[in-house]
């Protein structure tokens, strides 16, 4: 029996092909646009967070107490090397790096600018956050007094790959020291602080320059998303300043929350309107066939079968619409993921806020599952009122009456 119902539902759905097609198109287009937008927004935020973590603090950062306020070389983590080794053994830790930081003056023959110097270990940074991906020009090479410079700083000082720059700062004994460096590459991390202010050199060279021990470091950055990890690190190293990424950047947390709210609202509004569309069509299609239903009831067809048929009709349309939307959506999302949306004319502002000029989207399974349920729900809900109309039918009256 149900096989028959299914067949009838299928045939009936396409009774008026143009009409059905319109609904399917509506569902498909709305859904795919919505998926694309969600992907875009989520992509933006994810991108920003990701870059920030990789170039900056990682998931967790450790500093000596007061360092972040005073920013003086004397606030250094002693025996950082040992701490790093211990942390690496903890569960959930993906990578740990040591960094040495100092503030000073960066000069060329024509210009000087205040800057921060970051001593890093290239191989470890590569493992930590794919450091080489930040390279915009030149090459990733810190050999022979090589330095990598943030793109905005390079613009301010008017330096290029190959330029010589002199960095002067107070070392650990209070003396002012200078070191000659060659720009080997220009970086763009979209981490605003780094791009406008920082140069990167080999950590061992920087230790020598500052006169600090290679066992110490200014910052220990940890990659590892485990919730418990943060607690463990905080309790193990309570004498140090231990902060998670979100604690260091509360702004981003809020941005994430805003995105979720925003996406949910959009989703809800769009689905409601889709519901209205499906409802109208279903209602009219039932009204059109009221005589047929009356006849069916009259010849003894049970109401429940008719109910199932109506549900099926609506669900069929919903599903086909969903599939269309999913296919189109995938096309959009893949395009956005691989090519991105080019907003480079707004690049100044975007980069200031830490976004890239070309925004890539992400694809999440949840997009598809949540829209699936939403469409099914809309389809199912939309038949309720029309069904009641059928229920109240008096078969004889219907057959007798003119349309």
């Amino acid at each position: 029996m149900y096989k028959l119902i299914l067949k009838m539902a299928w045939k009936n759905s396409f009774l008026r092909p143009a009409r059905t097609l319109l609904v399917i198109t509506m569902i498909a287009v709305s859904m795919s646009m919505m998926l694309a937008i969600q992907g875009l927004y989520d992509g933006m935020v994810k991108n920003m967070i990701d870059k920030n973590k990789r170039s900056g603090s990682g998931d967790i950062s450790l500093y000596a107490q007061d360092y972040r306020v005073e920013k003086d070389i004397k606030y250094i983590i002693k025996d950082a090397l040992k701490i790093k080794e211990d942390i690496q053994k903890l569960e959930g830790v993906k990578a740990v790096v040591l960094r040495l930081l100092a503030d000073g003056l960066l000069s060329t023959a024509r210009k000087s600018s205040f800057a921060s110097i970051h001593g890093i270990d290239l191989n470890e940074e590569e493992e930590f956050g794919e450091f080489s991906k930040f390279l915009k020009q030149g090459e990733i090479n810190l050999n022979k007094r090589g330095a990598l410079i943030g793109i905005e700083l390079a613009k301010t000082l008017k330096v290029r790959v190959g330029s010589k720059i002199i960095f002067s700062a107070q070392d650990s004994s209070g003396d002012i020291n200078s070191i000659a460096l060659r720009v080997r590459g220009i970086l763009q991390t979209t981490n605003v602080g780094l791009d406008t202010n920082s140069i990167f050199v080999d950590i061992k060279s920087l230790h020598k320059f500052l006169g600090t021990s290679s066992k110490d470091a200014t910052q220990i950055a940890v990659m590892g998303e485990d919730e418990k990890l943060l607690h463990v690190v905080k309790s193990n190293y309570s004498n140090l300043d231990v902060k998670s990424f979100l604690e260091l950047q509360p702004m981003i947390k809020q941005m994430q929350e805003m995105m979720v709210i925003f996406n949910s609202i959009t989703f809800f509004i769009v689905m409601s309107v889709v519901f209205i569309g499906i409802f109208g069509v279903v209602y009219v299609s039932i009204l059109d066939r009221i005589r047929e239903f009356g006849i069916l009831l009259g010849i003894g067809m049970q109401y429940k079968y008719i109910r199932v048929q109506i549900f099926l009709e609506s669900i069929i349309v919903g599903l086909i619409g969903y599939l269309g939307g999913a296919v189109l959506g995938i096309v959009f999302l893949v395009y956005l993921r691989d090519y991105g949306l080019d907003l480079s004319s707004f690049s100044d502002a975007l980069e200031m806020w830490g976004y890239e000029a070309v925004i890539t989207g992400t694809i999440k399974v949840s997009y598809f599952t949540s829209t699936f349920w939403a469409i099914i729900t809309a389809s199912v809900l939309s038949v309720i009122i029309p069904l009641r109309k059928i229920k109240k039918l008096n078969p004889i009256e219907v057959i007798k009456a003119e349309k």
């Binding site: 008026r16 143009a18 009409r19 319109l22 609904v23 198109t25 509506m26 287009v29 709305s30 646009m33 919505m34 937008i37 875009l40 927004y41 702004m251 809020q254 925003f262 959009t266 509004i269 769009v270 309107v273 889709v274 209205i276 569309g277 109208g280 069509v281 209602y283 009219v284 059109d288 907003l343 707004f346 100044d348 502002a349 975007l350 200031m352 806020w353």
Partner: protein, 406 residues
């Protein structure tokens, strides 16, 4: 045709009501959303501007690029005299900014020390309003220093303490003095609060040999929307190729772009909404038309032309849209107007977004007839577009075929 359309509308209530409601909602939503977006942008802008940057500022060319005492405005009065004749300027003031070292007993910090005209600044910027402790300056403040709270924290000072100032005068000679901290301010912008401090020009000019000189002249306009017009008048009046007059659009270029980005995203989301509504209106229109195929067939048989059919459909949608929009306009307009005057206040909003330069908890709307008109116009156009497909659908049937349609 028109009366025919009217009858149809009243007869086919289902379609009419749904179309009416959808158009009404989309019009309202569109207008209110855009008004809110524009309003909050304007407010963000005004608030950032109010802190310190002027709507228009007059500089010596090269001051912003190169800086230094070489590019100061040597005769500020000759410029300010010309300004008083320009309509649209609400207030102006001269500022002499310099960078120097402020030292307390144990701590030193580099700071921007600016000589200002306190009476004028009260009108122009919000530094006087941002007072935290002590008092703001007036022209008799002598060596009083008015400094940002973060700067004061760095130097570990209290109101009443002495602060040493060391820097370069306008002729590069050595300048040093002892100031007294008379007041502190908090604008909410961390960078500003940790590097800025102010002294009354009456006193500072003596120390700096800067009488009648200025780093730049800052101007407040009566209406932000007309800023470009006022700026071009100023340029004409200045008549000096060494000077340039810039609006906030150049001075705060990044903020302008940030707003544009926000707009882009806002419109993207809005377009999604409108697309969906467009489809639904079209679907209802289509259903309505497809159930009247027989009717249309008969009409065509008795001689109604395609043009007539078209105008019938057109009038139907016209009446519905207009009714909806006519109803929506005053309501949306009122909402916009109301919230323009009484902005929505979200407590804590400024605290959350202070790093983005948001300093106020208010979110006003923007009441702009031009914007509202094009918003509504777009809704109209969408509605008219929605009858196209149904129209073609009708024409795909031969009249005889149509009149026999079941």
């Amino acid at each position: 045709m028109f009366s025919f359309a009217l009858k149809n509308i009243l007869f086919y209530k289902g379609r009419s009501i749904t179309t009416f409601i959808l158009t009404f909602i989309s019009a309202m939503f569109f207008v209110v959303f855009v008004s809110w977006q524009d309003g909050s942008h304007n407010s963000m802008l005004e608030n950032s501007l109010k802190i310190y940057t002027g709507a228009i500022e007059i500089y010596h060319k090269d001051y912003r690029n190169v800086g230094g005492n070489e590019y100061l405005i040597p005769d500020a009065k000759s410029i300010t005299d010309k300004l008083s004749s320009i309509e649209g300027i609400e207030a102006f003031s001269t500022r002499y900014e310099t960078y120097g070292l402020l030292s307390s007993k144990e701590h030193s910090a580099a700071s921007m020390v600016a000589g200002i005209e306190p009476e004028k600044e009260k009108v122009l910027s919000s530094i006087a309003l941002s007072l935290r402790d002590g008092e703001f300056l007036d022209k008799n403040s002598a060596n009083c220093l008015y400094a940002g709270v973060e700067l004061v924290k760095k130097l570990k000072l209290h109101v009443g303490d002495e602060v040493t100032f060391v820097g370069g005068a306008s002729d590069d000679s050595f300048a040093a003095d002892i100031f007294k901290l008379c007041g502190t301010f908090k604008t909410g912008s961390f960078e500003f609060d940790s590097t800025a401090s102010f002294v009354s020009r009456a006193y500072f000019d003596e120390l700096m040999y800067a009488k009648n000189m200025a780093s730049y002249i800052t101007i407040k306009v009566k209406n932000l929307d007309g800023v470009d017009r006022v700026n071009s008048e100023i340029s004409k009046v200045l008549d000096d190729e060494d000077l340039e007059s810039l609006t906030w659009k150049t001075l705060m270029k990044t903020m302008v772009e940030a707003m544009e980005v926000d707009n882009v995203f806002g419109y993207i989301s809005l377009s999604l909404f409108l697309v969906v509504i467009f489809f639904v209106i079209m679907i209802y229109g289509f259903i309505n038309v497809s159930s009247r195929i027989k009717e249309f067939g008969v009409l065509k048989c008795i001689g109604l032309s395609r043009a007539n059919i078209f105008s019938l459909l057109f009038f139907e949608i016209f009446i519905l849209s207009s009714a909806a929009i006519v109803l929506a306009t005053p309501i949306a307009g009122y909402i916009c107007y109301y919230y323009t005057i009484n902005p929505i206040v979200i407590e804590g909003f400024a605290e959350m977004y202070k790093d983005y330069g948001v300093v106020s908890n208010e979110m006003p709307f923007d009441f702009n007839i031009y914007t509202m008109s094009w918003n509504l116009g777009l809704i109209y156009i969408l509605n008219f577009l929605s009858i196209l497909y149904p129209y073609f659908y009708i024409n795909s049937y031969e009249p005889i075929e149509a009149s026999r349609h079941v």
